[in-house]
Symmetry: C2
Subunit: 352 residues, 2 copies
């Protein structure tokens, strides 16, 4: 007779069929009621220390593992946290995700990762799917959710932390949390650095044209205007995805313009890296012939030729802080700050 899962059960008497060790099994062994075991294992207070010890030992002995589905059904919420990021090919978000998982996993939460591809429709769809799983929390990128998405979040009652951007201090802070930095200030800061080098014709080139890239262009424009400089014909916006190859193309387009800008500030490092490589190919000397700056300090930027001046953004800290805020919220704590500005750093290397 083959040893099927069924036949195996015949050898087990006290424990239930199906193989799985349940709370009832643990309770029986510990000599207490299942509810007490449940409370003991979850560390709920108001359980006698000795019973806790007995329950834990019994659970250990039987190799008991709580069933997340049963738990979710009974408690009306799962151990999932939904995370929405635009795209993993942007290394930025890989760092955010890493930090989120590193913070959430030890606390027993599973991350549900949704990739929106910078598409509000898809984000809405993903949100809907994630919400079906009754997550305990939501970590979303940016503030530009569609109206329906916003409504879905609100009505779900699930706490939501927005990452990367900051909710304007003017907004009445009602349940909306954000962790990030001012994209606009960071871009203005980089522009000021370029201005301090004596450049006056500073171009801004952005791709993808997501909200954050646009905010960076606003920061650039602000710094230019404050310096009394024109920005006309210096802004290069391309809706295509941000890549090395596109950076090279945009760079060549800009070079064809006359008068040629003295510096180009790219809205993301991959564009700047592509420009740097193209400059090398064309025999242009950076920064002597033209200065190049990037944004985000992505992998490879320090290895470029010359090494790229860029803005270092705190994405790991953002992922970690967002997770910590969520965790605090789940413990029922009140957050002293609903808006966490983690700042940025201008990293001056040799390309400017």
């Amino acid at each position: 007779m083959p040893l099927t899962p069924q036949s195996r059960n015949t050898t087990m008497t006290a424990t239930r069929a199906k193989g799985r060790v349940t709370l009832a099994d643990v309770a029986r062994l510990a000599g207490v009621s299942p509810i007490t075991v449940s409370r003991a294992l979850r560390g709920e207070r108001a359980v006698d220390a000795e019973l806790v010890a007995r329950a834990k030992e019994a659970a250990q002995r039987l190799g008991y593992v709580p069933d997340p589905a049963a738990r979710a059904l009974a408690s009306r919420h799962s151990s999932h946290v939904g995370v929405l990021v635009p795209m993993l090919s942007n290394a930025l978000f890989v760092d955010v995700l890493e930090a989120v998982q590193r913070s959430l996993r030890p606390e027993g939460f599973q991350t549900l990762i949704g990739i929106t591809h910078y598409d509000a429709q898809e984000e809405e769809q993903l949100l809907e799917e994630q919400l079906q799983h009754r997550p305990v929390g939501l970590l979303v990128t940016g503030l530009q959710q569609s109206n329906r998405a916003r409504l879905l979040i609100e009505r779900s009652g699930v706490p939501c932390i927005h990452m990367m951007e900051l909710i304007p201090p003017t907004e009445p802070s009602q349940q909306r949390y954000s962790v990030g930095f001012s994209q606009e200030d960071a871009a203005a800061g980089m522009t000021q650095h370029l201005l301090s080098r004596g450049h006056t014709r500073i171009a801004f080139a952005g791709a993808q044209l997501d909200a954050r890239t646009l905010q960076r262009s606003v920061g650039w424009k602000r710094a230019m205007t404050q310096a009394g400089l024109p920005t006309t014909a210096l802004e290069w916006l391309n809706p295509a995805a941000s890549t090395l190859a596109l950076g090279g193309q945009i760079f060549e387009q800009i070079l064809a313009q006359s008068p040629r800008p003295q510096a180009i500030f790219f809205g993301n490092d991959d564009l700047a890296q592509g420009a740097l490589l193209t400059a090398l190919r064309l025999g242009l000397r950076v920064p002597h012939d033209i200065a190049i700056a990037g944004f985000n300090d992505l992998v490879g930027s320090a290895q470029m030729l010359p090494p790229l001046t860029t803005v270092r953004t705190p994405r790991s800290a953002i992922g970690e802080t967002a997770s910590r805020m969520l965790l605090a919220l789940l413990r029922g704590e009140h957050l002293p700050q609903t808006r966490m500005d983690l700042g940025f750093e201008i990293v001056i290397r040799e390309s400017t």
Copy 2:
């Protein structure tokens, strides 16, 4: 009186409290039993066409959404698929993940992503966590799981597809599925290309030293040996993570050796890219002074100076095929092939 979730319920009469629309609500509206609605909605056969229509309409009208937790509890399996990848900072796996999600989401499956950091212990841990969620399937990277991990998978009875590497044809194909290509053959192929260029001192440089990198070194060695060439003092293995910066360092180390190799085959593109940039900095002409080849055809390799010769690996196809195999398995289909060789392509650009 404030409108709390509780008080809101008083306005609803027919439907249940708690707000959530349940199967029972749909059944009531459709005038059939809940089981019939359940079967109709899941597309289970053996339900009268008219009742199916009525059930679906009622579900639609009420905005019914099945509860995954209840479903999982009753059916003993969730809608989750566990996916294990080593690291997202290796762009390779971002492509795999993209493809997996693109294939699985439309079928109603949620992806549980675990990042192992190339650590067998962590993989084991992640596996254990994922298995608690009773996934319907597992997609894991490579074949080198720890014994305990292997046991966990086996005993769970959850179908598992291994990605990237191929299970040796000699292994009795019992329940183990694999999709990938021969890392060894691919490396041997690249080495042959280098040999065809007339090089005889061809070095191999690998980092991270995961199983696949090591298989590539074996392929390189095989091709060299077959060509009657020595490999002594030509193999450079570094356990550190594979990065542009490390590639540059290894490159300089190799250059210090004499006689200097005529070509270097890097086990991953990021290393090769770092070498290329360092060559540029040192004023070495590639491939004239030294030829450089990579592996994987990662983003940026085509933009390098000179563009990098490399092996294009079918990671999107791997993710997609693995998903499709899993889907077929879940439908109870028998897979004609338990081992899918998706091949590779030697992409010759200007660096060799």
